[in-house]
């Protein structure tokens, strides 16, 4: 058609906006962008810039960190511990994720409840539990003495072992859920097909299932590794002086020694290490996979991602080693074949052991809270409600709870608005760069918290926001919003847009559509996102340490101070109250899921009858 026939006609504002759909589609992301750029990217840039003195290009701090043994040891130790933690989390988590992904929905919900409750229980509480369990008077030592293996308590607490145990306890469930998300997409019929075609179970697993699950393993390992590198609480409380990790180093340098250039440089190194790991990982997997936020590609399962690295490895192995493989596979099958049964007893035994490992600390805390002793000994010598009475009268705890609720509420409000609007924009925009924007919007939860904490500290101090309520809430919102983005993006992606079209053509205005169709349908996701955001804020320690100033203490701060200076069962009573809230929240959401499955099952039957 020639240009002349394409008439220019007066356009309404509505139509004008539609014509510029590309840009308009990103407009809802404005609050998210302000939050990310204003309180994440710029602060990070500031500390990186200051780490080498800006234009002075003074790299003395870097030289010190990389040459002075004190700092280098900390760096090396951080990576060593993180590597161990990653290894154990994956090895111990894989079978659990495997079993979980093979269960029927209802059983999977029951099993996952035992993972979710510890997962959502505050880091601090769990670390406190491990102090109780691993301490000189703890369960492990008491048991060992009772069994006669040792005569006097052995040192477990304040060793690297304790740090690794505590970190695995925190990170393994996260790894399990990441692996589970990938495994759940693997078509189990392929396993059946391989067996029908003559592969024994061991070979089927190694050649069919394992390769398909590897992207999940890789995603989980990456996530666990980058989280481990930035750990602060666990090494600080469970480790000894030799277990200092880089986050602690940064805290000490910037809060105690006030050696800021060194702190900036350490933070920058930590940041770069994280980015390097992420870059390496991105050669193998789409990074979204770490939060199970990748778009499921029907039919291709995990195989869409043919990682360059993996392909090379496989080619190298496949050529020369296949006879070796075959021998090993057959030998393994002969060995474990008799142990394999239809009912997968060994998988269940292993999974149950792991679940006990995950849940035990929580239970220990609950039991300890009823202790009659003023000391943290386990098992408690007698029953008493004294700690609850104390807690009931403890005004400082009440104030901390109120402070946490206030800040959490505000952070959730900001997070939900910015995150949900941003998720809409990121999913629905036709712009091509949106994947990068999506990853960017997740970056506050990717980089180590200490880096963000330090960056916000310096930045807000310069803005004059430090120690203000607004400043603290923004800090929490920066951390909570990415979770909202993850949850809402997947919900929006799964949302059937023809519903909005149907509403629109039948007379509903955009605002009406949002109010009566879109938001009501997304309500479950909004609830999940809000809860998650709240938990993140409720559990936040590091950013709060830096930004709190003279504001009233939040619960984690109160907890943190008490663990260090006043270690008594009152903490366990306070913890129990929080645990109960978590159990309640997890219980309700799991029960809702269960009900949805049941209803669907009933419906399915009903339809079969009528058909």
């Amino acid at each position: 058609m020639d240009v002349a026939t394409e008439r220019v006609r007066p356009r309404s504002v509505w139509q004008y906006l539609r014509a510029t759909a590309g840009l308009r589609s990103l407009a809802p992301a404005a609050p998210l962008a302000i939050l990310l750029v204003g309180f994440f990217l710029i602060p990070l840039a500031v500390i990186v810039w200051d780490s080498f003195g800006g234009l002075a290009l003074d790299f003395a701090s870097y030289r010190r960190i990389l040459t002075e043994p004190v700092y280098f040891t900390v760096l090396a130790h951080t990576f060593k511990v993180s590597a161990y933690v990653t290894l154990f989390s994956i090895l111990l988590g894989y079978p659990v994720a495997y079993l979980l992904s093979s269960l029927k929905p209802r059983a999977a919900i029951v099993v996952s409840t035992f993972l979710l409750i510890p997962l959502f229980t505050a880091f601090l509480i769990r670390t406190y539990a491990w102090m109780v369990i691993l301490g000189r008077q703890g369960i492990v030592n008491n048991t060992l003495i009772w069994l006669g293996f040792v005569d006097e308590p052995i040192q477990i607490l304040n060793t690297t072992t304790a740090v690794v145990i505590g970190m695995v306890h925190v990170l393994a469930p996260i790894g399990i859920f990441t692996m589970y998300a990938v495994m759940a997409q693997i078509d189990r019929r392929l396993v059946a097909a391989a067996q029908v075609l003559g592969a024994n179970p061991v070979r089927t697993f190694l050649r069919v299932y394992l390769p398909m699950s590897l992207p999940g393993v890789f995603a989980a390992a990456t996530l666990v590794l980058i989280m481990a590198i930035g750990f602060y609480i666990t090494p600080a409380l469970l480790g000894g002086p030799a277990d200092t990790m880089i986050s602690q180093l940064i805290v000490v340098q910037t809060t105690t020694l006030l050696n800021f250039p060194l702190g900036y440089a350490s933070a920058t190194i930590l940041l770069l290490a994280t980015l390097a790991i992420l870059f390496l990982a991105s050669l193998f997997i789409p990074l979204e996979m770490m939060w199970s936020a990748h778009e499921a590609q029907p039919g291709t399962g995990g195989s869409r991602i043919r990682p360059t690295g993996a392909r090379l490895v496989r080619r190298a192995l496949g050529a020369g080693l296949s006879p070796v493989f075959r021998v090993v596979e057959n030998a393994t099958f002969r060995l474990v074949g008799p142990l394999m049964s239809e009912r997968r007893i060994w998988q269940w035994v292993f999974t149950a052991t792991m679940l006990v490992f995950f849940v035990a600390p929580v239970i220990v805390i609950v039991i300890l809270s009823f202790s009659s002793s003023p000391f943290v000994t386990f098992p408690p010598p007698g029953f008493s409600l004294q700690w609850y009475e104390k807690l009931y009268r403890a005004a400082d705890w009440h104030a901390a709870l109120v402070a946490s609720l206030q800040i959490g509420g505000a952070a959730v409000a900001i997070g939900l608005v910015a995150g949900t609007a941003g998720a809409f924009a990121l999913v629905r925009s036709p712009l091509r760069g949106k994947r990068a924007l999506f990853l960017l919007s997740l970056s506050p939860i990717v980089i180590p918290v200490i880096v963000l904490a330090l960056a916000l500290y310096i930045y807000e101090a310069r803005l004059g926001l430090l120690g203000s309520y607004v400043g603290l809430v923004i800090g929490h919102a920066v951390l909570a919003t990415p979770y909202v983005v993850v949850v809402m993006a997947s919900a929006v992606r799964g949302f059937d847009r023809t519903l909005e079209h149907a509403a629109s053509v039948h007379g509903a205005r955009p605002a009406t559509i949002l109010r009566r169709v879109t938001l009501p349908i997304l309500k479950p996701a909004l609830t999940t996102a809000g809860l998650l955001a709240f938990l993140i804020s409720f559990d936040e320690l590091l950013v709060t340490i830096f930004l709190l100033g003279r504001l009233p203490q939040t619960l984690p701060i109160k907890f943190w101070n008490d663990i260090k200076y006043q270690f008594d069962p009152l903490l366990s009573a306070a913890s129990t109250v929080i645990i109960l809230a978590v159990v309640f929240a997890v219980g309700i959401s799991q029960w809702l899921r269960l009900r949805r499955i049941k209803r669907r099952a009933v419906l399915g039957n009903g339809q079969e009858k009528t058909a």
Binding site: S12, L499, V505, H506, G507, V517, P520, L603
Partner: protein
């Protein structure tokens, strides 16, 4: 109540991918049932989306009842629409779904109740008012979608492959149902499908689309008997299509030379057409035994015979041409494979195609 719809030189260009719809023009009279028929990717759904207002035409004009709606958002156009997957609101009951178009128009509550009940009665679903869409079968959901689309007596009803997800029996029933409701409400309907049976059963007029262009818009019988080109001929019904050449025989009569050299009589309308192709429907060809018939158009051998109940379908080799013939079963034994047969047709049953 019902309105005319005019599409004038409508085009839609997507990004750099090129044109989805090119220079599309169509007039739909009030109360008319028009079907947009075409293979997937032919642009029929894009046309529907532009009528509904989900897409803005790159060029051209769309008028409802004589006034341009191009600049109106969907919610101001007063259109009812049934979607391919029904697009029922999962969080609302059947009643709330049907009441939706009225409630967003701030209609009085009591009136909503009355009208929604009426619409549900129209599709025989009164007793399902309090169910949720997921608690209904596919056919029931389809009818809820229909009730929702007509409850506010829209100026025009759009239907986007509404029967695609239903099984065969249900589809037959729903066709009758849709036709009945359309007649009862005397509504203008634009219906999109790739299924020629649906198009033929339901429509007053069928607009065949190909590659974003309108190929032919005509009532079903005309489309079938006088297709505009070989695409329409192939898409609507079965057809035999040959290249041909118009020649004059010794007596000066117009004849057609087929690729195998055979000469057949030209249809009387052949005069003005610069003919390139000849189309003849399989059931218009008479099939006769052996060479006993003189003056047959073609002679051939049966390559394959398939019994289809009311008809038998033959694949025939006619000296290098391959033909499909459908023969009514009237009790005579079918021709065996390999039998020599003669084929004839009335010259005017053949159609000369312009492409």
């Amino acid at each position: 109540m019902s309105t005319s719809l005019v599409l004038r030189n409508v085009s839609k260009v997507y990004g750099r991918d090129g044109r989805a719809v090119s220079d599309f023009s169509l007039d739909v009279a009030p109360g008319e049932f028009v079907t947009l028929l075409g293979p997937s990717g032919s642009g029929k759904t894009t046309v529907l989306k532009m009528i509904a207002g989900f897409e803005t035409p790159t060029a051209g004009e769309i008028e409802l009842g004589g006034e341009s709606v191009v600049t109106l958002p969907p919610y101001r156009r007063g259109i009812g629409m049934v979607f391919q997957n029904y697009a029922l609101f999962p969080h609302m009951t059947v009643f709330e779904n049907v009441a939706f178009p009225l409630s967003v128009r701030d209609v009085d509550r009591r009136e909503i109740a009355v009208k929604a009940r009426e619409a549900l009665a129209l599709v025989h679903l009164e007793e399902f008012a309090d169910r949720y869409p997921t608690q209904l079968s596919g056919g029931q959901q389809q009818r809820v979608a229909l009730a929702r689309a007509v409850v506010f007596r829209p100026r025009i009803l759009l239907m986007d492959e509404p029967l695609g997800a239903l099984d065969r029996n249900l589809r037959e029933r729903m066709k009758t149902e849709i036709k009945r409701i359309q007649r009862e409400l005397r509504m203008t309907v634009v219906y999109v499908t790739h299924d020629q049976d649906e198009a033929l059963t339901l429509s007053d007029r069928i607009a065949v689309m190909r590659d974003g262009r309108l190929v032919q818009a005509a009532p079903g019988p005309e489309l079938y008997n006088r297709p505009a080109d070989s695409f329409v001929a192939r898409f609507v019904g079965e057809s035999n299509i040959f290249d041909c050449e118009v020649v004059a025989d010794g007596a000066g009569a117009r004849m057609l030379r087929l690729p195998n050299g055979a000469l057949v009589a030209a249809p009387s309308a052949a005069g003005e057409v610069v003919a390139h192709r000849l189309m003849i429907r399989p059931e218009r060809i008479s099939i006769l035994r052996g060479e006993e018939v003189s003056g047959a158009a073609l002679s051939g051998r049966i390559r394959e015979a398939v019994f289809l109940g009311e008809t038998t379908r033959y694949e025939i080799d006619a000296e290098g041409l391959s033909l499909t013939v459908k023969d009514q079963n009237r009790g005579a034994a079918p021709f065996p494979v390999g039998a020599h047969v003669a084929l004839t047709w009335r010259p005017d049953d053949a159609v000369l195609l312009s492409d």
